[in-house]
């Protein structure tokens, strides 16, 4: 379980994620965006592995890359994107967006430079081998209500999505 | 004219062919087969056909129909104007519920150039008859699709091959030949060689494919 070459993998994965993220928001073609997003998600799953959260990494691969992105791809295939590709890509208030994002970025930088000191520099050792089991203990113990409510959320999602998508219901 | 009407042989120069190819369907050509002469009653001749059904029909339509038997097969020649009614009666009252075939024969010498033939069969009676009528070129017949759904493609084929139109057909267009084909091939005056040569000239860019 000893970590190896952490900086190398971190920068590799971080670069992959950022490039993927940039491609997501700049690609003309929605399928290319989705492809970039998948790459970002997979890289992020690996970052979770680095952070000793293998169960979340598995969830990320199965649910995000293998589930939600399939959903996205299906929708892209259902709606005709060719026309959207020929049109203007950015909306009329794009400059507002850029300004807002820049402001937010400035805020982040300010917070991080100020608050660097409050992050403790300790690396706690978690027995990675027990991760799933510990997640289970927490999930079905302390977070029991959240877990049950999640099923309600899913129920609502099914009903909402089916009502929305199906015309004759 | 006679030279043009002849189907061009291998040696005929293209210049001579041209006028014929423009209207191959309209040229009263002499086909390779001998002209159909209704002459020479050699062997068995059609004999009149009599049956209760015919008697009934005769009562209603009189001389409009001419029932005959030839080689044990019954058929009736029906006046063009009586066709819709007769078919209706045959279908609805006489139980001829199965339209086996619709076809035509071309006799270019006659004034009424076409024989149109309905082959009908009755499941309850196990009986097969033919209804025949004579029609002119360009004259249209009523479509029998309301009586027999099977008539759809059969009528289309007759139209495709002979150019006989059927009124009330929902989709009367060529069926076996491509859209935009010239002429009606099963007419006796159809110049297949002209057609072929023209196709070769247009599509292959050579004088003659023969």
């Amino acid at each position: 379980m000893t970590p190896v070459a952490t900086p190398f993998f971190f920068y590799l994965l971080a670069a992959t994620m950022l490039i993927g993220g940039i491609l997501v928001i700049t690609c003309k073609n929605a399928v290319h965006s989705a492809l970039a997003l998948i790459v970002t998600l997979l890289a992020q799953a690996n970052i979770y592995l680095m952070l000793y959260a293998p169960f979340v990494a598995g969830v990320q691969i199965i649910l995000y890359a293998g589930g939600i992105m399939v959903l996205f791809l299906f929708v892209i295939m259902l709606v005709n994107i060719d026309r959207a590709m020929k049109e203007r890509q950015f909306n009329s208030q794009w400059w507002v967006g850029i300004i807002a994002a820049t402001a937010l970025g400035g805020l982040f930088i300010a917070v991080y430079t100020k608050g660097k000191s409050i992050f403790p520099e300790r690396i706690p050792s978690i027995a990675e081998g027990e991760n799933t089991q510990r997640v289970a203990t927490l999930l079905y113990g302390q977070y029991m209500f959240a877990f049950e409510i999640a099923s309600l959320l899913l129920l609502v999602a099914i009903i909402g999505a089916v009502v929305m998508a199906k015309k004759r219901i | 004219m006679p030279e043009e009407t002849k189907p061009p042989s291998q040696s005929s120069p293209p210049g001579e062919v041209k006028p014929a190819t423009e209207k191959p369907a309209a040229t009263p050509a002499t086909p390779a087969a001998k002209p159909a002469a209704p002459a020479k009653p050699a062997a068995p001749a059609p004999t009149p056909w009599d049956s209760p059904m015919i008697a009934k029909l005769k009562r209603s339509y009189g001389s409009g129909i001419e029932p005959l038997t030839y080689l044990g097969q019954h058929y009736m020649i029906v006046d063009r104007s009586l066709i819709p009614e007769i078919l209706q009666v045959l279908r609805n009252e006489e139980q001829f519920d199965y339209c086996v075939d619709i076809t035509a024969v071309h006799y270019p010498q006659r004034e009424k150039q076409f024989d149109v033939i309905w082959v009908l069969y009755s499941f309850p009676r196990n009986e097969r008859i033919r209804v025949k009528t004579l029609t002119k070129d360009g004259e249209s017949l009523p479509s029998s699709i309301p009586l027999w759904a099977a008539a759809n493609w059969l009528e289309r084929e007759v139209y495709d091959m002979f150019g006989i139109k059927f009124d009330g057909h929902p989709d009367l267009k060529r069926i076996l030949l491509p859209e935009g084909w010239k002429g009606y091939p099963l007419r006796k005056d159809y110049g297949i060689l002209q057609q072929d040569n023209e196709w070769v000239q247009i599509n292959l860019g050579i004088e003659s494919g023969q």
Binding site: L35, F55, V59, G66, L73, F74, N131, Q133 | -
Partner: protein
């Protein structure tokens, strides 16, 4: 250099009972990766040949006979043909996605083998979320299929892609439920903690003294059955081969693919078949465990079973030699006869090597695992020879309305029976 030697030695020590990945032994991990690649390529080539031969014999014909003795070299000839074939990207296709899609499929199919346990220490690596990783990675091939179909810019591939991806995702649920009921069985031990690690699952079966297919009879069997149906559907094989239903959509999502790029899909399909079979073997059929590890557990049986791998290869060699004897004696067939003889000799040699105790002890795990997977491959071929094809709505019906409730029911029942067992 010294480090390297140490690396090599560290793993040859017979007391090592850990996978190279878990031991952090990158040298041996690399060797294993290469072995897995080699083994998979051989397996796919063999599958290709065997599928044709077995199918042919089921269908009263001979199958490939020309290239090499009994068509043994046919897969290689095919690979060469595909290599030399023109590779077209249709006009209007999205060339990048078109180029990239087969990679996803191959990658998804291959990556599963990172955690496949061929033996207690014969896996590239062991991870805590092994089965989750396998399911997740194998589900990524859906993306490749959808993208291949979309990128082709043609009706048939797109419909084929939508169909096969809908099919794959539908059966993934039933598959997951069946897997969970097997995972649940692993937790029925002294510590009360199960595992998702592939090696751990097999160890659990060993510890509990029975393969999970027989546990809580018939619940384990039903769960296995659900998985076995779902895995055929997941890999788009007959009778669920709608994606490439030749008579309906010509070739499904890879209609527009040709040449070597097409062969990547082919590779992906066969690898995926082996991969899902490996999951089934690990979860229900005791992975690398030899048959009846608990019923016939005296040392005599151990030695007897350790002869089986060698004997199998000798038997195959005997078949080869028998066919050498049956070959026509005409000089025209001389090279073929010699080739078949050489093939038989190679098999016999492998068989003899497998009789050496040192080797056989290390290798018999791999043999049993492979033999079980091979059994599944035979089933795949058999299905193809026997069954007509499902229609799409029937397939969806089966997935959503039969297997899903069945899987849920089996899961709840297994849990209930497990609880009763804990209480008593």
């Amino acid at each position: 250099m010294h480090d390297l030697i140490q690396y090599v030695q560290s793993y040859l020590d017979p007391n090592v009972k850990v996978t190279p990945g878990a031991a952090g032994n990158m040298f041996w991990a690399f060797v294993y990766i290469m072995l897995v690649f080699l083994g998979l390529s051989v397996a796919v080539i063999a599958m290709n040949w065997l599928e044709r031969k077995i199918l042919a014999h089921m269908q009263v014909r001979l199958g490939p006979m020309r290239v090499g003795p009994h068509g043994l070299l046919q897969p290689i000839a095919d690979a060469l043909k595909l290599l030399l074939k023109e590779d077209l990207i249709p006009a209007g296709a999205d060339s990048f996605v078109f180029w990239f899609a087969p990679f996803i499929v191959v990658l998804a199919a291959f990556c599963v083998f990172v955690v496949v346990p061929f033996g207690p220490q014969h896996a590239i690596t062991d991870m805590n979320i092994g089965i989750l990783f396998m399911l997740g990675v194998s589900s990524l091939s859906v993306l490749g299929v959808v993208m291949a179909g979309w990128a082709s810019n043609s009706h048939y591939p797109l419909i084929g892609a939508l169909r096969s991806s809908a099919q794959m995702v539908s059966y993934e649920i039933a598959m997951g439920l069946a897997v969970i009921s097997a995972i649940l069985m692993t937790s029925l031990n002294a510590t009360g903690t199960g595992t998702l690690s592939m090696i751990g699952i097999v160890e659990a079966q060993k510890a509990q003294g029975e393969w999970f297919i027989f546990k809580f009879f018939p619940l384990g069997l039903i769960a296995f059955f659900i998985f076995a149906v779902a895995m055929v559907a997941e890999t788009n094989r007959a009778p669920f081969d709608l994606a490439e239903a030749e008579s309906e959509l010509t070739a499904g999502f890879h209609t527009e693919y040709s040449g070597f790029r097409w062969s990547l899909f082919f590779l992906g399909e066969y690898t995926a078949m082996i991969a899902v079979s490996s999951i089934a073997v690990t979860l229900w059929l005791g992975g690398w465990l030899r048959p009846f590890p608990n019923l016939l557990n005296s040392p005599t049986w151990d030695t007897l079973f350790s002869y089986v791998p060698g004997a199998t290869f000798l038997f195959l060699a005997a078949i080869c030699f028998y066919n050498v004897a049956r070959m026509p004696k005409h000089p025209y067939f001389r090279i073929q006869t010699m080739g078949l003889g050489a093939f038989g000799a190679a098999l016999a040699l492998i068989g003899l090597i497998l009789f050496i105790p040192v080797v056989s002890v290390r290798v018999q795990d791999i043999f049993w695992f492979t033999a079980k997977v091979a059994g599944f491959q035979y089933l795949y071929i058999w299905y193809r020879g026997t069954f007509p094809r499902y229609r799409f709505d029937q397939l969806m019906h089966l997935g959503w309305k039969v297997l899903l409730p069945l899987g849920l029911g089996v899961l709840i029942l297994t849990a209930g029976v497990g609880l009763l067992q804990i209480k008593s």
